[in-house]
Amino acid sequence: MNWLRTSSFFSIAAVLAFTTVIWYGAAVYLNSDVLIDKYERKKIDWNFTKLVEDSWAMKRPIMPAPHQIMLDMKKSIFGYKISSKRSLVYHGWVTISSTLVGFAMGAVLGILLAVGIVHVSTLNKSVLPWIIASQTIPILAIAPMVIVVLGAIGVTGLLPKAIISAYLCFFPIAIGMVKGLRSPDPMHLDLMKTYNASKSQTFYKLRWPTSTPFLFASFKVSIAISLVGAIVGELPAGARAGLGARLLTGSYYGQTVQIWSALFVASIIAGSFVFLMTVMESKVQKRMGVQA
């Protein structure tokens, strides 16, 4: 049971328990107005116990209780065939696939930009300000335009959403890698110079390995915002699948429980991605001889 003492199990469990208690209380508080209103209209006798019980079991609560969300998740993940439009596995997969494609595109773009910026001083002066400016445009404003413009030339489905993800996630990767590729020790760079190493040798044998901690740090940020990009890309009218579409239909029909379970699934996916990155990072670090 040693892992119990050393792992963060207890601290996580404590935070979870605390949040759950607060949540149940908040559900009562937030739903009580609607319920009391109903009781008085229908002249129903009520006491506090009834109020609490009812506020945790409403069909369209303002704030659903955790167990309602869990039950809805259970139903929509395990209760339908995964090809069904009601299945959260189906919607989750739609979002995951465009997240991953967008992340891959953003990673390639971000790394290429960083390599260019580090090696070509004109790019350093001309491109960096545009990269920063690109991130000042709210993604909610540009996402529908990307969908509409690409739709007009016949590109629909996964690609437009992936492009929105890539647009969001190339930025931390580019900025992180510019810093990472510039991080070698001056002595290590001088050493390369004494060997008369070419620029590409210096890149593969020094700059790239030196930048790996920066690469993984930016990957962890990027994979999470890539998911946000995919969901935002599913919000504009027309998207019929994905967690974003699920959120949108949920809010059309006042299905708050459905919204919350989609949100939960989204955060579970994001958490798993970041966890996977951490595992990859520690594998790579081990190969690179980082002191355990």
Binding site: H188, M192, Y195, Q201, L206, M288, G289
Partner: protein, 261 residues
């Protein structure tokens, strides 16, 4: 001495750094000749420009006046021909490479084939007494061992000229003595030309055939002392009158250099 044996030839070399606080005159009117097989120590107080002089020879800096020739070429041409091995103040090993990987680094860059890479890295590791440490990462080695790997790395491609910038400066006295003795033996076997920056008088006296004493900024050469010690040296020799006389002369030179300011 015939002309082809001239390894470094510096004439009236000047170097002024432009910094944000104004120009800094680092080196002034340096005249220095280094012949094949010489072991030259550059000794002087901190900030006297001895490292800078070494970097000029290595083409890691450019002089602002005068002329330097390395193997009768410009330092840049010599660097492009990989004429020297450079050992830095710190081991400067790549932490993600094992000892063996670090030794192979210059060989990989120079395009030497894999079997030869393995043979040479094994050979130099024996030279510095570290056989068996091939698979270790730098952090698993002590400071002295790391510096030995760094010297071995400079030896892998067998350069005729070794440029060494206070390679033992960060080590404690005992390890330093061991490495001095070891390195002297290596030099005796190979007779490479060595330019060795140090601020330790015993180290300079023990290792060198010629000691170049430099003054405070702007760095100038005050004295060039030919060693009177026999070629074969032991650490015990440091207590002989000859050794003490040599040390004394170096100290006098250093003191003269200080009286400038």
């Amino acid at each position: 001495m015939n002309e082809s044996a001239r390894v470094v030839d510096a004439r009236k070399v000047d170097l002024v750094f432009q910094t944000s606080d104004g120009p800094v005159h680092a080196l002034s009117e340096i005249d220095l000749e280094i012949n094949k097989g010489d072991f030259i120590s550059l000794i002087g107080p901190s900030g006297c420009g001895k490292t800078t002089l070494l970097r000029l020879i290595a083409d890691l800096e450019k002089p602002t006046g005068g002329d330097i020739q390395v193997n009768e070429m410009t330092p840049e041409e010599a660097r492009l021909q990989r004429a020297y091995g450079y050992v830095f103040q710190a081991p400067a090993l790549y932490p993600w490479r094992t000892v063996e990987g670090n030794l192979k680094l210059p060989l990989e860059i120079m395009g030497i084939d894999k079997t030869e890479q393995a043979r040479r890295s094994k050979e130099v590791l024996e030279m510095v007494d570290l056989s068996g440490f091939e698979k270790k990462f730098p952090w698993q080695l002590s400071g002295g061992m790391q510096q030995r790997v760094s010297i071995a790395r400079a030896l892998t491609f067998n350069p005729d000229l070794m440029l060494m910038d206070e390679p033992f400066g960060a080590l404690d006295e005992i390890v330093r003595d061991q490495l001095n003795e070891h390195f002297h033996r290596l030099w005796e076997e190979t007779h490479k030309t060595v330019v060795f920056v140090t601020h330790s008088i015993p180290e300079a006296a023990y290792l060198s055939t010629k000691i170049v004493v430099m003054s405070q900024r702007p760095g100038k050469i005050i004295d060039i002392i030919e060693s009177t010690l026999p070629e074969k040296r032991t650490l015990d020799m440091r207590d002989t009158p000859e050794f003490l006389a040599l040390s004394h002369r170096i100290r006098e030179g250093l003191r003269a250099g200080h009286s400038y300011d």
